[in-house]
């Protein structure tokens, strides 16, 4: 059994991190540590593949996994261990494949950063290592530790070019905004621990979560609160509305980092958390509805903002937020299906989409990186006509755009259809999901439009600024081609072997028969909704073709009247970012100013008053020292009289 050695998966990249960080510079060889980084990523990839293969054979390692005591408090101990099930296997697949390809790609992409490549490779190894740690954790506390480390690494890498003010502030923003979610996650864990007395998944998820519900029998509302808080962690990490604004800003980091954050690590951690917490979430339908609504809103909102973005990476960033919204929406809807019919289709659909999205989004980002590498700018308005100069990049990016738009038979088509159809069927258990389904369909239409807007603006037409573009080196194009292959084929996972649904549903304890594989295909291909979505996607692409490819369309009509208002709102990201800035500047800064005044005048005032009294009271009191003996004597006699009066009359009156 190789599963018991799964703990090596995070250890190998961590060892690479330590080596790159500590070895003398001349022993780092190629690309200042790039060799060690590729070695670390590849080592983890090999063990991951062995582990995944074992899981495909039907083995899992959950409650019986080896653990070690991390912390002993009296007779209570916190143990760390590993938890390998089907969900973990999918996450390992995503992180290892995308992580390794990104590191290989970095070998060429980061070449110009010279001395700083060492820091880059060290940080990226740590990032991959802690992400592995997060997905194999067997309790919430361990998960939280790695969760925070993922946040730290994203801070370091987003702010990699820290001398640029935009990068420094984007890094801080990512760190602070996700922190809001992290606090909620921690609060959720604390509530669970208070009632159940354990962090372990094995204890919390016993009997499919029913044991935890029983522990909350006296106050079921708190379980809802706990699960909602845990989802709050995912809102922060997975950039869901209203904490989504950090992700587009995170584009200030190197493009490889964006690819890693968007496809494999960071934002996928939030979705993974929700999927991992499924046994608890299905005990609380209110939280699930909340999950679904947040997902639906995020999907649509982010897709609209992507329509007006001009930075190629921001388009991709908003599309990531939008696709994450799909996954979250699918998980919320899947929970209702699971509660009411015991089927895991929504759950498997979401994770399927997570996997497919990882491949095509990594592809899109690395293509964008290739373009930026060639052109030297992020602004699509300055690009154009790159298709002839960069044939490999343009074709691979076209595949990515087709995949994310959901054109059959590419991966995005299958998973998006799975998600939307499960959301639709959840509608029969809660009417809200019909609305969310409609939002999802609208998002699919918008997605097709903005992805092709981006593609046409970048690769077709004529150059709109001076540059000498050239195709990127092999080290960059080979990972692109591998990812293209995955984006083309990963949708087939739905039909390989026992099928994705039957494989993954065991992760949440569903063992019943699933629909036959041909039945799934038939359902997808005969459902009218599939063709509705497909039709909208094609219309979206055609509109993009008309507006951004064919000559003679005057785009100025968007800038005036009602569409103009709309466009300005989109360009300002629905003013959400501005709202946060204003909130921070006016409310928080105002409050800080108020506190400053309070400190300065009230607190300091008291201190200064005491000091003033000490310094100046003497000037008054010393006047008593008149030097006149008779006055002293008079005071003494007066004192004696008062004392006698006190002893003779006041004390007896008081009962002494």
């Amino acid at each position: 059994m190789v599963l018991e050695y799964a703990w090596l998966i995070p250890v190998i990249p961590f060892a690479a991190f330590v080596l790159i960080g500590l070895l003398p510079r001349r022993t780092l060889f190629w690309e200042d540590g790039g060799g060690y980084a590729i070695g670390g990523a590849a080592g983890a990839l090999i063990i991951s593949i062995l582990v995944i293969w074992d899981v495909f054979q039907g083995h899992t390692l959950t409650t019986t996994a080896p653990t070690f005591e991390w912390l002993v408090i009296g007779n209570f101990s916190i143990t760390f261990g590993i938890w390998i099930d089907q969900l973990t296997a999918i996450m390992l697949l995503v992180v290892s494949v995308v992580g390794t390809l990104v590191v290989v790609y970095s070998g060429a992409y980061m070449h110009e950063d010279a001395e700083r490549r060492r820091r880059y490779y060290a940080e990226i190894m740590l990032f991959i290592s802690v992400m592995y740690g997060l997905v194999i954790a067997n309790n919430y506390l361990m998960m939280f530790v790695f969760w925070e480390l993922v946040g730290l690494c994203s801070y370091l890498l987003i702010g990699f070019w820290y001398e640029r003010p935009a990068a420094a502030s984007a890094a801080k923003r990512a760190f602070i905004v996700t922190r809001v979610g992290d606090i909620m996650f921690m609060a959720g864990i604390i509530i669970l621990f208070k009632y159940v007395g354990s962090f372990d998944f094995g204890t919390l998820f016993a009997d499919g979560g029913a044991a935890t519900k029983a522990a909350f029998a006296e106050s079921p509302g708190l379980l809802t609160l706990a699960t909602a808080f845990i989802f709050g962690g995912a809102i922060g990490k997975s950039a869901q509305f209203p904490l989504h604004e950090w992700l587009p800003d995170a584009m200030e980091g190197p493009t490889t980092v964006s690819a890693l954050i968007h496809a494999a690590t960071m934002v996928k951690a939030g979705v993974y958390l929700v999927a991992r917490s499924y046994p608890l979430l299905v005990q609380t339908p209110d939280s699930l509805l909340f999950v679904g609504i947040i997902g639906g809103i995020t999907a649509l909102l982010a897709a609209t903002v992507a329509l007006a973005a001009t930075d190629i990476k921001r388009v991709l960033a908003y599309s990531t937020i939008s696709q994450l919204g799909y996954m979250i929406l699918g998980l919320g809807a899947g929970g209702f299906i699971f509660i009411n019919s015991g089927s895991a289709i929504g759950y498997t659909a979401s994770i399927f989409h997570l996997m497919n999205h990882a491949f095509f989004k990594a592809l899109l980002f690395l293509c964008a990186g290739s373009v930026i590498h060639a052109v030297g700018t992020n602004d699509m308005r300055l690009m154009g006509g790159l298709g002839r100069k960069m044939p490999i990049t343009s074709i691979t990016m076209l595949v990515g755009a087709l995949a994310i738009s959901g054109i059959p038979p590419l991966s995005g088509f299958w998973s998006k259809d799975e998600v939307l159809s499960s959301v639709y069927s959840a509608g029969s258990f809660h009417g809200m999901f019909f609305i969310l389904w409609a939002m999802g369909v609208a998002t699919a239409f918008l997605t097709a439009f903005y992805m092709f807007r981006m593609w046409f603006m970048t690769f077709t037409g004529g150059p709109r600024s001076e540059y000498h573009a050239h195709e990127s080196p092999k080290l960059m194009t080979v990972p692109l081609m591998i990812l293209t292959g995955l984006a083309l084929t990963s949708g087939a996972a739905l039909f390989i072997g026992e099928g994705f649904r039957a494989f993954l549903q065991r992760a949440i304890g569903v063992t019943g028969e699933t629909e036959s594989l041909s039945g799934i295909a038939l359902d997808t291909l005969t459902s009218p909704f599939t063709y509705l979505v497909l039709g909208l996607v094609v219309v979206g692409m055609l509109i993009a073709y008309r507006v951004y490819y064919m000559a003679g369309f005057n785009r100025a009509v968007f800038a005036t009247g009602v569409p103009g208002t709309f466009q300005r709102a989109l360009e300002n990201r629905w003013y959400i970012s501005k709202f946060y800035d204003d909130f921070a500047y006016k409310v928080v800064y105002g409050f800080a100013k108020l506190s400053d005044l309070f400190d300065r005048y009230v607190i300091d005032g008291i201190v200064n008053l005491v000091a003033y009294l000490g310094a100046n009271a003497g000037a008054v009191i010393r006047k008593a020292q008149s030097g006149n003996v008779q006055r002293y004597a008079g005071i003494i006699i007066l004192g004696i009289v008062v004392l006698m009066f006190f002893v003779l009359f006041v004390l007896p009156w008081g009962g002494w």
Binding site: R622, K623, Q625, S626, G627, N628, V629, Q630, A633, I637
Partner: protein, 106 residues
């Protein structure tokens, strides 16, 4: 036998008169004399209570009388020192009016 209260009234009056003298007179010699009157008021109290001891308790107790003698001796020494101080004060300031001598002040 003269009742104890009479002696106490007498000594209270002497103490009050002495205190008045200390507080109101300007001449340091008179102040010194007023202090002597206050001391003697205390002596009268000692002797009076000593005399009345056998009436309240059995036996004789001369502690009060001894104290009175002791305080007379101290008063004599005090007057000697006090007058000596006054003499040097007079030599230095050419006055012995107590409200004029106030150099020990802020």
């Amino acid at each position: 036998m003269i009742p104890l209260e009479y002696w106490l009234v007498l000594s209270s009056l002497m103490l009050a008169i002495g205190a008045y003298g200390v507080l109101s007179r300007k001449n340091a010699i008179v102040v010194l004399m007023s202090i002597e009157i206050m001391l003697n008021a205390a002596n009268i109290n000692f002797v009076a209570f000593s005399t009345y001891y056998p009436i309240v308790h059995t036996g004789i107790n001369a502690n009060g009388q001894v104290f009175a003698l002791f305080s007379i001796a101290i008063a004599a020494a005090e007057v000697a020192v006090g007058l000596a101080i006054l003499l040097t004060v007079y030599r230095r300031y050419r006055t012995i009016e107590v409200d004029k001598i106030n150099i020990l002040r802020w």
